[in-house]
């Protein structure tokens, strides 16, 4: 519990817009987009800049209060979900693009800037920001930094880490650390790279320097239709083996196509297709032409019964609308959606997609697949109703079995959504207690008091115990948060 004195101090520091403690105000911060787990934060803090965030964090550090960083709350692993006794520190008021340096091709932004706003702001300079999570209309660049987010075009351009050039970071003690000169190769130990993808467990990032890339001279979208999902997956494997490099390779299965076509995100995907593959091609004009010809040949050889390509921006936008709106469209199927996020070796895509559908069929759950196929990053999506505990039980079981199937075949737990609360105990399927103790040294070094986003990413109790239960089933003992006394 926060003392009255600390509350007063935070309120006067952040003002009425930056300090929320009424139950109705805290409601929308109870979970991220993994709506299975909810907990109301004691207080929600919304600093408007680095200085305010640092001052608030210093006050919290002195009182030993745990902090859950939060951007827009679009995370899908429970990373920004509050834990008992913690305050949520939210970056959504830090929404300024501080500088675009078109000459250096760098942008300096506050952490709460929404992903798509940066690309919009860079466009007049002929530049764009490459990481494009499908949530880019809502998610923040700080959240992308903390999750090392990917997106469809990550296939060619890489995940967020690849585009980070610097940051302003507040460590758990509330001290500001600057890397605001664009770093290329850091001298000494590469702490900045360690912060990217650290899921809010090592401090809060308030400002970020990112790379902007020149908008390619030519780009177009290719749509390929398949009469079976396995064929679509096999053709990805063949495409990777051929060395061709489109900028995005995405697959949508039939249930997704139906949901999309019945929704406002209608893209004109033929409903008779069992799977559609969306590919973006970019580069110089000659390169795109050469790439299209080679891709079409491979796709046809592997069962694509029809291909179309679009160069007109409006047409391309329409084709992508179905992919970008897929999650929204699935809202039609049931009130809630569980989005799994596993990585399969790219040679075993078809096999693992097949297993996921067997698992869901066995548990009588509807499965829709829409995924970053080029990177082997699968998103089996299960529609359900969270008010029905029996459905919730089956959904969780399906999630666990899919992860297990993936890990057993050389895949891994998460490609872009992070471990968070959701997969925390599943870390035991990859690592032993002894190995996890070495992983924990990272946190031990930076946050010895375990005050930053406690209870996430690292199993709290031993793996033997973790394996026997799920961390977020209703009635679990208080999320297992362990904050140390010896802070700060």
């Amino acid at each position: 519990m926060l003392s009255a004195e600390l509350r007063d101090q935070l309120r006067s520091l952040l003002g009425p817009d930056g300090y929320l403690d009424a139950p109705s105000q805290r409601l929308s911060y109870e979970s991220d987009s993994l709506s299975l787990v909810r907990h109301s934060p004691d207080v929600v803090l919304l600093p408007k800049d680095t200085r305010e965030a640092a001052l608030a964090m210093q006050a919290l550090a002195r009182a030993g209060v745990p902090i859950v960083p939060r951007g827009a709350g679009t995370g899908l692993s429970g990373g920004a979900t509050p834990v008992p006794g913690a305050v949520s520190l939210v970056t959504t008021r830090m929404r300024r693009i501080l500088r675009i340096d078109a000459d250096q091709r760098i942008a300096h932004v506050q952490a709460g800037v929404i992903n798509v706003e940066l690309t919009r702001a860079a466009a007049p300079f002929g530049l764009f920001y490459a990481p494009d999570p499908s949530s880019q209309m809502a998610c923040t660049l700080g959240g992308n930094f903390a999750e090392n987010s990917g997106g469809p075009h990550g296939f060619k351009y890489g995940q967020t880490a690849r585009h980070i050039r610097g940051a302003r970071w507040i460590n758990p003690r509330g001290e500001i650390v600057d890397w605001l000169d664009p770093v290329v190769d850091p001298e000494g130990l590469d702490v900045l790279s360690l912060l990217v993808g650290s899921e809010g467990m090592l401090g809060i990032v308030t400002e970020i320097l990112v790379d902007l890339l020149p908008i390619p001279e030519a780009s177009e979208t290719l749509l390929a239709l398949f009469d079976s999902l396995p064929n679509a997956c096999e053709s990805v494997t063949a495409l990777i083996a051929s060395g061709l490099r489109p900028s995005a390779i995405e697959i949508l299965d039939q249930l997704t196509i139906q949901a999309v076509e019945a929704s406002v995100f209608r893209a004109g995907y033929p409903q008779e297709a069992q799977a559609v593959m969306l590919l973006d091609l970019d580069g110089t004009a000659g390169e795109v032409e050469e790439l299209r010809a080679a891709l079409v040949t491979i796709l046809r050889e592997h069962g694509a019964f029809q291909t179309q390509h679009a160069t007109d921006p409006e047409q391309r936008k329409r084709l992508w609308a179905g992919r970008k709106g897929a999650y929204g469209a699935m809202g039609r199927l049931a009130p809630d959606l569980y989005v799994a996020d596993v990585v399969a070796p790219r040679t075993r895509l078809a096999e693992i997609v097949g297993l996921a559908s067997e698992i869901c069929a066995e548990l009588d759950l509807p499965l829709a697949n829409v995924f970053h196929a080029g990177d082997g990053n699968l998103h089996p999506n299960i529609s359900y109703d969270r008010r029905d505990p029996e459905q919730v039980r089956r959904v969780l079981l399906a999630g666990e079995r899919i992860m297990q199937a993936c890990v057993e075949r050389g895949g891994t737990l998460t490609g872009e959504h992070g471990v968070g609360l959701e997969k925390r105990d599943a870390m035991c399927s990859l690592y032993s207690d002894e190995e996890l103790a070495v992983h924990a040294l990272v946190r031990e070094a930076i946050d010895p008091g375990h005050r930053m986003n406690p209870g996430k990413l690292l199993p709290v109790r031993g793996c033997r115990e973790a394996r026997t239960r799920s961390p977020y089933l209703p009635g679990m003992p208080e999320y297992d948060v362990e904050v140390r006394e010896s802070t700060p």
Binding site: R51, Q104, G410, G415, Y431, H439, L457
Partner: protein
């Protein structure tokens, strides 16, 4: 500890080969015994690979012993379908590149003539080389690693997959750590489709930095620039990519920059040779932003660095690098004079070379808070400070609360 001889004797008595102060286990069992023996003796250990870095980082006299995995059984597992190669730390970089090439794949960085360097050494040294522009820095190539700590604990991080965010990004932290946190036992690296074409052009005109400015303004993709301080040598543009891309680039380079095609393979060979750093040579290595390139160029040329024999320049959209090589150990005064110039430029730098490494490195990230984090990592991973126990250039500072802390306490 009583010194190298005692430790060597002790390890040899345990059945671990030691030659010239270098511990050279030949099997897992010997490595385990060596690590136990070293731990019990609280020996200061310098990890080494093929020692191509010269003495600056691997000088045996700084440690009780050096430890290399070169004689261990080496394994390579190349998964062409996934685009990943996994190798034990002692595998030679050149061998790995050859194996990749045989499957039409490319391993970055291209170390040129340094084919003997080891996987553990290259990753620990952390240099990204000239093809970073096409494939990203070395830290983006390292997908997974298995490490051992000075207390003997071992752990894997990452996965041999092209996409993965499971857990902290320790594989990236291992890049450039130089054996200060952990010994690398094996590493998984990303492979790329080999470029279909690699072309080179020479650009007329005396001043390379001008060519660079024009190139940036023209936004011609897929190119990097190489030049040296030797006025006889031309400025060279290098491009690689698909045939379609290179046809477009070649056209633009000719029409917009007036460049002439040259033989890329011959140029690569010559460049690689000229870049080669003799273990005995001394050099200064400067990295700056590409926009600062002309300014860095001007400064270093105007000052004419009397002790530098030669300057090599490399510019890519993300970075400009220059390496100055000289024959004689510069005096402290000469070193300081250079540092004075560099301090006024938007760049960072470090001195490499023979002799006692000087704690002179520059860069804005030498801030107190960063040093704290680096030191904390160091102390948590290697609390007894046994591995690579040399003063780390920018890490010498102590915790220093920033000014803002005072504001709060006053509040």
């Amino acid at each position: 500890m009583n010194g190298t001889i005692d430790i060597a004797e002790k390890l040899q008595a345990m059945g671990v080969p030691v030659r010239s102060g270098v511990v050279r286990p030949t099997s897992e069992a010997e490595l385990e015994r060596a690590l136990t023996g070293l731990r019990e003796a609280q020996a200061r250990v310098g990890w080494v690979g093929a020692q191509s870095q010269g003495h600056a980082w691997t000088d045996p006299s700084r440690y009780d012993v050096s430890l290399t995995l070169l004689d261990m059984p080496q394994e390579v597992h190349l998964d062409a379908g996934e685009g990943v190669v996994r190798a034990t730390a002692g595998v030679r970089w050149g061998e790995l590149r050859e194996r990749a090439a045989a499957q039409g794949l490319w391993l970055s960085p291209d170390l040129g003539v340094h084919v003997q360097a080891t996987v553990g050494g290259v990753v620990s040294a952390g240099l990204s080389g000239a093809d970073r522009d096409h494939y990203g820095a070395l830290r983006h190539q390292v997908l997974a690693t298995r490490v051992v700590l000075s207390d003997g604990r071992r752990a894997p991080f990452g996965a041999p997959l092209v996409k993965n965010v499971t857990g902290f990004n320790v594989p990236a932290l291992m890049v450039g750590q130089r054996g200060r946190l952990a010994g690398l036992l094996d590493v998984a690296l990303r492979l790329w489709p080999a470029p279909a074409e690699r072309l080179a052009w020479s650009v007329p005109g005396p001043e390379g930095s001008k060519a660079w400015q024009r190139l940036r303004a023209a936004r011609i993709p897929y190119l990097s620039v190489r030049m040296s301080s030797d006025p006889e040598e031309p400025t060279v543009l290098l491009g690689q990519g698909t045939a379609g891309a290179m046809a477009d680039v070649a056209h633009r380079v000719r029409t917009e920059l007036g460049a002439h095609p040259i033989d890329a393979a011959a140029h690569d060979q010559a460049w690689s040779q000229s870049w080669r750093l003799d273990p005995e040579a001394r050099s200064v290595f400067v990295q700056g932003s590409p926009t600062a390139f002309p300014e860095i160029w001007r400064t270093l040329h105007q000052e004419n660095l009397p002790w530098a024999q030669r300057l090599h320049w490399l510019a890519m959209p993300e970075i400009a690098e220059v390496r100055g090589v000289w024959v004689e150990e510069p005096t402290d005064a000469a070193r300081e004079a250079l540092a004075q110039h560099l301090r006024n430029l938007p760049c960072r730098w470090r001195f490499l070379g023979a002799g006692e490494p000087k704690p002179l490195a520059g860069g804005p990230e030498s801030a107190a808070g960063l040093r704290d984090a680096q030191n904390a990592l160091r102390h948590t991973w290697d609390p007894a400070n046994l591995w690579q126990p040399r003063p780390i250039d920018p890490l010498a500072g102590s915790a220093q609360a920033p000014a803002i802390a005072e504001e709060v306490s006053g509040a």
